[in-house]
Every structure is written in C-alpha cells, then in structure tokens.
Amino acid sequence: MTKAEKKPVLLPKLPDVCVRCATCMAACPVSRVTPRFPGPKQAGPGAQRFRSASEASVDDWIELCTGCHLCDTVCPAGVPISEMNMMAKAKYLDERGRTFRDWLLVRSDLFGELAARFSKIINPLMKNGILRRLLDALLKIDRRRDLPGYEYPTFRRWFRTRSTAEGATGRRKVAYFYGCFTNTNETDVGKAAVEVLEAHGLEVVVPPQRCCGIPRLGVGDLKGAREMGRRNIEMLLPTVREGIDIVFSSTSCGLMLRHEYSRILHLPGAEELAGSLFDICEFLLRLREEEKASPIFQPLSLKAAYFAPCHLRSLNIGFPALDLLRMIPGLDVRMLEADCCGLGGLYGFKTEKFSIAEEIGKDLTEAAARMNPDIILTDCEGCRMQVRHLTGLRVIHPLQLLRDALNPS
C-alpha cells in the first residue's frame, strides 16, 4: 500500500522531455471542444520553451486550461504538462491581475459557515432571477449555472453535537478530512462517510482543518494556496504523528493534500502528511481486502453508473469506489464511459467559460443517455453538480449508496 519514501524526486521538468507524440491531444477535454485553447502539447511543453521569467506572458489562452490533469495521465514521456500550465497561468494572472469575482469565489470557505447559518435566506436568493442577472452582469458568474445551496447545521456542527455510535469509542481511529463543500453544502456526504467508517469498526475523529486551497490554485494564486496548505499541514500533522490515518471523500481536496502540496507548492511536512492520507474508498477497500472489517452489504436493486473524476484519475489509485460498489448485491454498476464532466471546479461557473464546460459535458450527457441509469455515482462534488445539471438524474457520492447498503432501514 501507499507509503511515503524518503527519496529525492527527480522529475524531469524540462519541456524537451516532450517528444511531441501528441498523445495528450487525444485526451485534452478543452482543445477537443474549442480552437481557442491550443491543447496541452502546445500550451505546456511547446510554449514553455518560449516562456521567460523576465518577460511578460503572451499566452492569454493559458487561462482556458481547467487543470484536469488528464494530459499528465496519458503522457508516455512523463512530462508534467499540467504543472507547466499551472505555472504559466499563475504568472499570467499575476501580471494581469485577478478579477473581484475570482477573488471572491476562491474564498467561499470564509463565508461558507455564515452562508450555511443563513441558508434559509441565502438559498432562495441564489435562485432569484434578478440577482443572478446582476451576478452575471457585474461579476460574470454565469446565471445558467445553478449555485449550490447551503445546509445547516454544517457537517462539522453535526459531528460535534452527535452522539457517537455505541461502542465506537476505543476502536482504531481514523481521521476525516471532509472538505468545505461537504461541510456547508452537501453534509450528507460527510454523514455517510462517518457512518460507513463506523460500520467498518472504526472510530472517526475530525481534526481541525481548513479549505485545502485547490480553488486558489485554480486561479493560479500560488501564494494563497501555499498559505492554506501551510495551515492545513500544521493542523493535520499532529494527527499523523499519533499514527492515525486521514481519509478524504473529495478527490480534488485529496489530490491537493496528497500531491499538490509537495509537487507544486513544495510545502514542508507535505510528504509526511501525504504518507498517511487516503481516499476513503481506497482505505475501505484495503480494510476489506485485509479482512480487518467486512460488514455485509444488503442488496440494492438499482442500475447505477459510476463516473471517475479527473482528479481521481490523477491520484492514480484505480477506481476503488467502483470496486466497493461491486460488492453490493443486486447493484448493477457500470463505468460511465466519459472523460471529464467539464466543470473544472469554479471554471464552469464563469460566464466566459460556461460554454466550454457545457460543450465538454455534452459527451458525458450522451454517455449517460446510452446507459440510462437510475442513479449516477461520483466522488467529486464538482462532478456531482455538473452531472446533475447535465443529466437531471440523482447524483450522489458512492459513500451515500454504500451507507444505504449497510443500513437497509
């Protein structure tokens, strides 16, 4: 299983490692739908040869990279393409300056708790047509995109005030990194995570934590992302040092914590943290494989499609949620054959990028129509929002279905 090894990472970061084979051009979701983005081969190693720290950026299209990382996963030469794009995007936006919208959107963690508290007022407001037109006109937050509703009590509050399941104390502990969206917008994912972990004989603890910082990375704000990372590492390392593993249920938060903190942000302590971090399904699957816990799943008669988020692909751990779901008797679960839902986190909320996100999403809509499932399961909150928007189907985290199969009541 995964463990951190003290070993210098010799990642060849030179663009010349690229042999121009163009495999990435068969994977990029953006360049397949718009000629405005030249694709990873050109945007990454191609343009990299011409970039200079002392000269102004000229490649304004770099902002169209969604940061899905699919190019990295297919590159046969090991070129860190998305990292090159990220660095170029950061430099370009540092020079151009970020909009107020981008400043605001990446700080949703700061007002999320407050918005949740006043969700009864905020939620209808976010559906208000006039307000949405204003947001569109003034901030360029596309009005055709549903804004996620807030929920109260937050996951954190729910967890703090709940009574621990009987006999759950004194068991092996596992820590849960829930992520902002679970905390304030989709609390049931967090509840399902806790229930499923407890059903596997574990005691769940929730260490202090902040937004992982991936939204800031998305707008090339390396400094802001580094600050979030530094705080999280500080808050999470004591848990790691107690010998407690940490699981995450959002694959994007997970990718950020496990890989980007060290790979892109070079944060001290990141490697130590990464060695104890697991995707929650990866963790559960291992428990079951090692026969440390194997609660029985009750049959569920459903036709389900599983969609693998790009950032899960980038974690490169296979599809542990799919492996777990296949253990539910009666559940007909199949892989949704689509690459990338198109949302790209906050990307698809932005008016100037909305149509790109929609066009990428069309392929997924068609794949879903061919399968005609009752329900779609996916590990990333961004994907869930987009897949709901695209298909109109019930879209939940695999954990929520696993929980249903463990508690048939």
Binding site: V9, C21, M25, R286, N316, I317, F319, R334, M335
Partner: protein, 408 residues
C-alpha cells in the same frame, strides 16, 4: 497488501492484450503504464507481416518466415498462436465496427503521406481504401487541419483532392480529436456528406482523414456513404491516431468492466527481485511510492519511446529488472549510414531474448526471472518498422505471455 494474480507493465497493445487475455480467465489483474501507450501513436491498422505480398496466404507466408527466422517473436507464438490471438482481438470489436482482412492476406491501404502501405487487419472504416481506384477517388481534407493535406495526399495517390472549409464551425487549426468529436454528431456528418456530394465529379470512392468519430465510426461511415452514394474510407494519419484511440478506449472499457485495476500516468519506479522471482513493483506518484504485488508479471514496456529499453553510451539496458539485452555490438554498429536505409538499423534488433514461454533468458539460455514474461516490441530479433509487424507481435506475444503466465 492486496495480491494480484497478474501485473502487466505497459499500456500499449501488448500490455492491453495480455491484461485482457488474463481477465477473460477471471484472473485479478493490475495493468500499469506511464501513459496511454503507443496504440494512440501507431495503432491505425493491425500489421502482421507487411513483407508478405498481397495475394499470398498470410498463414503460409508467416510459416515460411518463421522457418527462416527461428529467433523472431513469431517463432515463439507460431502461426496458430497468432491466429488465436487475432481472433481474440477481433472478438473485442463486434460489428458494426469490426476488424477484417481481405482474402487472408495483406491489403494495400493509402496513408496520410499519400503512400500505399501493406497491412493485414483493418477496421471496416478503412475497407474501401483497399479497393479504391485512383481515377475514381476523391480525397477530402479540411482547411485548418494541418495533419492531413488533402491536395498533397491526392497528388501522390493520383486522385482528385479537395480541402473543405467546415461550415459554421470555422475551426482554424483544428485537431483530429475535435474533428472526430464533431463526426460523432449526426447533424454534422449529414451536412459534411452533403458538402462532399457537391464536390463530387462522378467519383465512386471518397477518402477522408481517419477522424470518422470516436464513439460510433460505423454510423459515421454509413451516413457519409448514404449521402454521397460513394464508398467512403478513412486514411491513417499522424499521431494522435483516432483509430488507435478507439482501440485503447475499447480495451480500457473492457478491462475495467471485467474488474481489472487500471493505473495510468506514472511509471513503475522499482521492481523487487528476490531469489529469481519478482516479488513486487512500486509505482511512483510523487511524493508517494505505492507497492503492488502479484504472482506473475508481464513486461510490455515497449522500446526506447515507451521506456522499456534505454540506450546508455555504450550499452542498451532494460531499466526496471536489468534484464540481459541482446544488442548489436558497439555503439558505432547500432546505426546504418543513412537514416532511411532500406535495411533496418541494427539497433532495431535489440531487445529481450526469451525461452519458448516468453521468459527472459541470459546469454546461456538460462531463465532469469521465473515469474516474469516479456511481450511486445521489447522482444529482440524483430524489426517491426521494416517488417511491418508491430501490432501482430504485440497481440500475439501479449496473448501468449498471459496464457503461459496463468498456466503456472
């Protein structure tokens, strides 16, 4: 730690075939590759042995080839082994998008360079290319699609050629994938068919770059043939290969559906070898290194491009297991005098020598690792480029390696 029945290293055609052959038997399989594998680079058609002239029965031709080349990978698989493996491959592509050969022999297909090239199996979307008559063929390219120049291709093929502007889309600088995606939409291909029909001057064949859709190429073909009234064919072109991408997607879909664990994007950084056996491998996704183990392993990491072979200053090495490599003497003997020498560069013959079971052996013929087998282009004593045997070697040895590995 979870134990797999088989770990396949490499996501090219050899690795994909090995993994698929194994999951068919119910084995727990992990397949791991640094990237998507060479099938998106070369995999337009399935070459078996291009040196056999069209009109000759391929089985007879290969039987003779094996008699003359006892060290060739085909000598390990035998004619029957190749036939079984190809039948399995074809089973993965049921009609309407099937692969076929013509009269059990090689066919000559036009290429995106305007040349004619022999190949054995090709998808239904290329079939008309084998039958095309130059004077009755119109080659259609797209303005702004740099990978395929309709006028150059038609000039070389001695056909008439046109470059169409794409109505409404205005895609200057479009890509193969973007075009393939457009073709998947019925409305687009219907309009394209109409646009082609208006350009036709009585031609009976229409050649297009190989971008006729990713999802349902047979439907694209049908629409275009219906609207134009001509036989339509795809012409293989530069990477990324859309037909190759279809092959890759189909394999990946099948492998995941059958429960294989598919890892892609990071290389295998280390192999643990103990007592003549591989005990595990490590996959590096910085900052983490993850270990996986299995009872058997298949090494299908390709040649120099894929990273399976590595040329140091004085010798060629296999970087993962440090297997003995057959190599043609000193560095100055690796290459011919001219790049396009009709004779293969000696370095192309370098690779891993195996026993009949595809287990790597040393100079004395002793098996080096008893639970590791090699498959695909990493094997020694073939010249896939000159022989035009790349896909045949991949499929036949990938199939055999999996069968033999699981028989133990």
């Amino acid at each position: 730690m979870k134990r797999f029945d088989l770990i396949v290293l490499g996501t090219g055609l050899a690795g994909l075939t090995a993994a698929r052959t194994a999951v068919e038997t119910g084995a727990k399989v992990l397949i791991v590759g640094r990237g998507m594998g060479a099938v998106t680079l070369f995999g337009n058609t399935i070459d078996l042995l291009g040196t056999i002239p069209p009109g000759t029965d391929i089985a007879e031709g290969i039987a003779r080839w094996i008699a003359d080349h006892p060290e060739h990978p085909y000598a390990r698989t035998g004619v029957k082994g190749i036939e079984d493996a190809l039948a399995d491959f074809r089973g993965l592509f049921p009609p309407p998008y099937g692969f076929a050969a013509e009269d059990n022999g090689n066919s000559l297909l036009p290429t995106g360079a305007g040349t004619i090239r022999p190949t054995y199996l090709f998808p239904v979307t290329m079939a008309a290319g084998a039958a095309m008559i130059p004077s009755e063929t119109l080659i259609v390219g797209f303005r702004g699609f740099k990978d395929f120049q309709g006028d150059t291709v038609s000039l070389h093929l001695k056909c008439r050629g046109v470059n169409l502007a794409l109505p409404r889309y205005g895609l200057e600088g479009t890509t193969a994938l973007a075009l393939a995606r457009l073709m998947d939409a019925a409305s687009f291909r219907e309009r394209l068919g109409e646009a082609i029909r208006r350009q036709m001057g009585g031609e009976r064949f229409i050649g297009l770059p190989a971008v006729l859709g990713l999802r349902n190429p047979a439907a694209v073909l049908k629409t275009l043939e219906k609207t134009t009234g001509a036989r339509v064919f795809e012409i293989p072109l530069l990477p990324p290969s859309i037909p190759g991408t279809r092959v890759f997607h189909r394999f990946r879909e099948e492998l995941i559906a059958k429960g294989a664990t598919f890892l892609m994007g990071h290389s295998v950084s280390r192999a643990n070898v103990k007592g003549g056996r591989c005990e595990g491998i490590a996959v590096e996704n910085p900052p983490l290194v993850t270990e996986y183990c299995a009872d058997r392993y298949i090494l299908a990491t390709g040649r120099f491009l894929g990273g399976g072979l590595w040329a140091e200053m004085e010798q060629i090495v296999e970087p993962l297991f440090h297997l003995p490599i057959f190599q043609p003497g000193e560095r100055e003997q690796w290459f011919g005098k001219r790049f396009f020498d009709p004779e293969a560069h000696p370095i192309h013959r370098a690779g891993i020598v195996t026993d009949a079971d595809l287990r790597p052996v040393d100079e004395t013929g002793r098996v080096v690792l008893e639970n590791v087998r090699a498959a695909g282009s990493i094997l020694a004593h073939h010249q896939a480029i000159e022989e035009k045997s790349r896909e045949g070697i991949d499929i036949a040895t990938g199939f055999l390696a999996a069968k033999r590995a699981l028989a133990t």
